[in-house]
């Protein structure tokens, strides 16, 4: 049993966790829910030993423990499956399962035994994985199971899973849940951090809700209804974020035909009309991101043609795409979007510098003007355009990225997970912004894992699965069930092949 008593963690100016007391009992599955920023990540980091609490104590099976680094937590039998992929891709499955355990730090390893142990774990999990393969040969879902396997291998007392089902489809999630029940039956304390509330409702014995760093309460799951849970999480009635924009016009702006990328995308047709928002749904590995990047010239098309406003474009790189009027706004801000060494203004004008020149040099006055006008127009919260981009909130950073691309006066805007890691308030603003863009006649393609977002925003939803468009759903027909079915390849055999939208 792991007990957290009065745990607080303070960063300069903010309390990330304020006086949290939670008990993860042996043999129970304990859910932890909360909005982005409620303190879930900090909690995971403290339990895993990555950071130390400023106040409060942890007690494991009766004795007080304190960790300065993850290896100490692991040595005590606490295992964490982290949200983002944490694998050594060049190593084999077995080696990844053993990573961080005392077995691997001894001199000679009995590999035959190690392989057997790893295989046993996967047998328990009900998944078929060749333990001798290198990690990079596995699909994302399988890699996730290896990380789960690593935690199971190292978990003597406690296992904490942070959003493990992001990469898993229905079947795999069920396998994971069965495994978690098995573990809890063996007396291990299982903590399940997730924002997938339906899962939490079916799986857990008790639920703790965090909001703004506070523990709102812990309840037996069966006593809670979904609505009550949400209200606890949000602290207010959730207003629907319905965005309105005029009907799309009957002109085709983006026309993609026969797009094929290696073995990851097969013969996809896609069209976006003027003023239309097309949503692109699909699980990790469905090929939707490759497709989106290929339309932007960032990934090479093996086959297929792209037309913008009726003219065929050859995209050898994003440079050509920008010239053709195509824009790509990444949701993965840190990796693909922001230049951390630059300020707001510089990040904002990054894609449109060529238009801000005067006699070979950058016209700083015009640059400032442009940046300031976008900051105003998009209501970006920053003390000045000279503020380092790192210090803006996620929502405002995302707005800077959108502004960057608006400054290039595009015809097509592709947004990849536009509200990832952004809180509810800012989300609504970004949705409003996207609607406004559609109203001005831009052709918009949104990739999103947030079904609610797609269902409310998109005029048309394309669902991809394993490199193909599995379903094409106009707004009127689109439902959560249909999207999920298509994304997991469970569409009722329709016979007709999926097609693109027609303007």
């Amino acid at each position: 049993m792991l007990r957290l008593e009065n745990i607080s963690k303070v960063y300069p100016g903010v309390r990330a966790l304020d006086d949290i007391s939670i008990e993860f009992q042996d043999g129970e599955i304990h859910g932890v829910v909360g909005e982005n920023g409620a303190g879930k990540s900090t909690l995971v980091e403290i339990v895993g030993g990555t950071i130390k609490p400023d106040r409060g104590a942890m007690e494991l099976n009766g004795s007080v423990v304190a960790f300065s680094e993850p290896s100490e937590a692991k040595a005590k039998g606490i295992a964490v499956v982290h949200q983002h992929f944490q694998s050594a891709l060049g190593l084999s499955v077995t080696e990844n399962v053993l990573l961080g355990s005392p077995q691997l730090s001894k001199g000679l390893v009995n590999w035959r035994d190690a392989h057997k142990q790893a295989e046993a774990i996967f047998a328990d999990l009900g998944v078929l994985i060749d333990v001798r393969l290198p990690m990079r040969a596995l699909k994302p879902a399988q890699q996730k199971f290896v990380e789960i396997g690593r935690a199971i291998y190292g978990a003597a007392s406690v296992i904490l899973l942070d959003e493990p089902t992001a990469a898993l489809d229905g079947e795999d999630s069920d396998r994971l849940f069965a495994a978690m029940r098995l573990l809890s039956q063996r007396g291990i304390a299982v903590a399940y951090v997730s924002h997938r509330l339906e899962e939490v409702m079916t799986l857990t014995d008790r639920v703790s809700v965090l909001r703004d760093g506070h523990l709102i309460g812990t309840w037996p799951t069966e006593e809670l209804g979904l609505d009550t849970l949400i209200t606890h999480m949000v602290g207010r009635e959730l207003s629907s974020f319905f965005s309105d924009h005029p009907e799309p016009r009957p002109t085709t702006v983006l026309d993609v035909r026969g797009a094929t990328i290696g073995d990851r995308v097969h013969q996809v047709d896609l069209q976006v009309c003027e003023g239309q928002i097309v949503g692109l749904a699909g699980l990790l590995g469905s090929g939707r991101e490759d497709l989106a990047k290929a339309i932007f010239g960032a990934v090479r098309l093996s086959e297929g043609t792209i037309f913008v406003d009726g003219l065929q474009v050859q995209l050898r790189s994003p440079v050509d795409a920008v010239r053709a009027g195509i824009a790509y706004v990444p949701g993965n801000r840190q990796e693909e979007g922001l230049v951390p060494t630059m300020d707001v203004g510089e990040n904002l004008t990054l894609a449109s510098l060529r238009d801000l020149r005067r006699h070979f040099l950058v016209d700083r006055a015009r640059e400032e003007e442009t940046s300031k006008s976008f900051v105003e127009r998009l209501r970006i919260v920053a003390t000045s355009i000279a503020q380092p981009i790192e210090t803006l909130s996620g929502g405002n950073q995302q707005k800077v990225l959108v502004a960057r691309w608006l400054a290039t006066m595009p015809r097509v805007v592709i947004l990849n997970e536009p509200t990832q890691g952004i809180d509810v308030g800012a989300k609504a603003e970004i949705h409003q912004l996207i609607s406004e863009l559609a109203a001005t006649g831009l052709a918009i393609l949104i990739l999103s894992s947030d079904l609610l977002e797609l269902l409310t925003m998109a005029d048309h939803i394309l669902v991809m699965n394993e490199g193909r468009v599995e379903a094409s759903l106009p707004r009127a027909e689109a439902t959560q069930e249909k999207v999920i079915e298509a994304a997991t390849g469970h569409t009722a055999a329709s016979g007709a092949s999926p097609w693109a939208t027609k303007c």
Binding site: P70, S71, S87, A88, L91, E95, G107, W111, V299, P318
Partner: protein, 320 residues
């Protein structure tokens, strides 16, 4: 058959070995004595300094770091060992001093990198100068020379007609290769180089392992320094400069990924021998020594390009 061939050709170490063989045979046809036992032994002898140091550097690079101070560690250790050997004590004490000295210098690197968190390239760029300078200055009045034969035997003596340094190098190749492939330590070092964050979050004591790789690298450079001074009878302050480049060349041509997580001791071993073979071949073929550098440079670039193209075939689509 074609598939088997493909499997062979995409295996780096095997490919390198084949190239090595090809060079040997190619030169051997023109100059038959090149493939004689004596000639091969001499070749391995000449390669032993780079070979021993390259083992340590391979381990450091696989773990995600880099160490360009190895040449300086070699010289510093050679000086330390030489000074002790001059005092006519048991040669083992001199050896121990050299290796321990190298380990200590490696530990300095380790501290700068893992404790003070200085980027490895910057830290070892600084220690490259500091190690060499300090040792040279401290000992400049004491010439190294007149070393007892019990000590120089380490560098010049032979067993079974093969000089000690070659045995040392080959032995270390085997031990290190096995250790990196099969022990927990080796696999953890690979994991750190492959994904440091993942390793840390999985409970690996990353700093400790990284520190250890630098100490090992220092120790091996120290050992090479001992062999160097034993073999040459003396050491100059300018000795071993430029060594780091040759060593990195061996590591990289051997297929080790400069960013870490991938590579092998076997590859380094074959590459070190290959580079030495090419150098010796040029001498034997009468190619002016003036052009040797150019040939080695081309070899490095060509070798590395072939590897990259082999990899690229896999990742063809992901470009711009």
């Amino acid at each position: 058959m074609l598939k088997w061939l493909k499997g062979v050709v995409t295996n780096r170490e095997v490919l390198l070995a084949l190239v090595l063989l090809a060079v040997f045979l190619g030169v051997g046809i023109r100059v038959p004595r090149f493939v004689s036992r004596g000639s091969i032994i001499n070749l391995l002898f000449d390669a032993s300094t780079v070979g021993i140091v390259a083992i340590g550097l391979t381990i450091v690079i696989i773990g995600g770091g880099i160490d360009i101070s190895i040449g300086s560690i070699l010289v510093a250790s050679a000086i330390m060992a030489g000074l002790i050997a001059q005092e006519d004590v048991s040669p083992w004490i001199a050896v121990g001093t050299g290796v321990a000295g190298g380990a200590a210098l490696g530990a300095v690197n380790a501290m700068l990198i893992t404790k003070l968190k200085i980027p490895p390239i910057v830290a070892t760029l600084a220690t490259l100068s500091i190690f060499r300078g300090v040792l040279t200055e401290l000992t400049k009045s004491k010439l190294i020379g007149g070393l007892p034969s019990s000590f120089t035997a380490i560098g010049k003596g032979r067993v079974g007609g093969v000089p000690y340094p070659v045995w040392i190098m080959l032995g270390l190749f085997v031990v290190a290769a096995l250790a990196m492939r099969f022990t927990g330590f080796g696999r953890v070092v690979y994991s750190i180089g492959s994904n440091e964050a993942a390793a840390r979050l999985s409970g690996v004591a990353v700093s400790r392992y990284q520190a250890l790789t630098y100490v090992i690298s220092g120790s091996l450079a120290g050992l090479a320094g001992v062999v160097f001074v034993a073999r040459n009878g003396t050491v100059l302050p300018t000795s071993g400069s430029g060594l780091e480049l040759l060593v990195i060349a061996a590591v990289v041509v051997g297929g080790t990924n400069i960013f870490g997580g991938e590579g092998s001791i076997a590859g380094t071993a074959v590459a070190a021998v290959l580079l030495q073979t090419i150098t010796s071949a040029m001498v034997v073929l009468g190619i002016s020594s003036a052009w040797q550098g150019a040939v080695i440079g081309v070899t490095i670039l060509v070798g590395v390009t072939i590897f990259v193209f082999g990899q690229r075939r896999r990742e063809r689509e992901l470009l711009a």
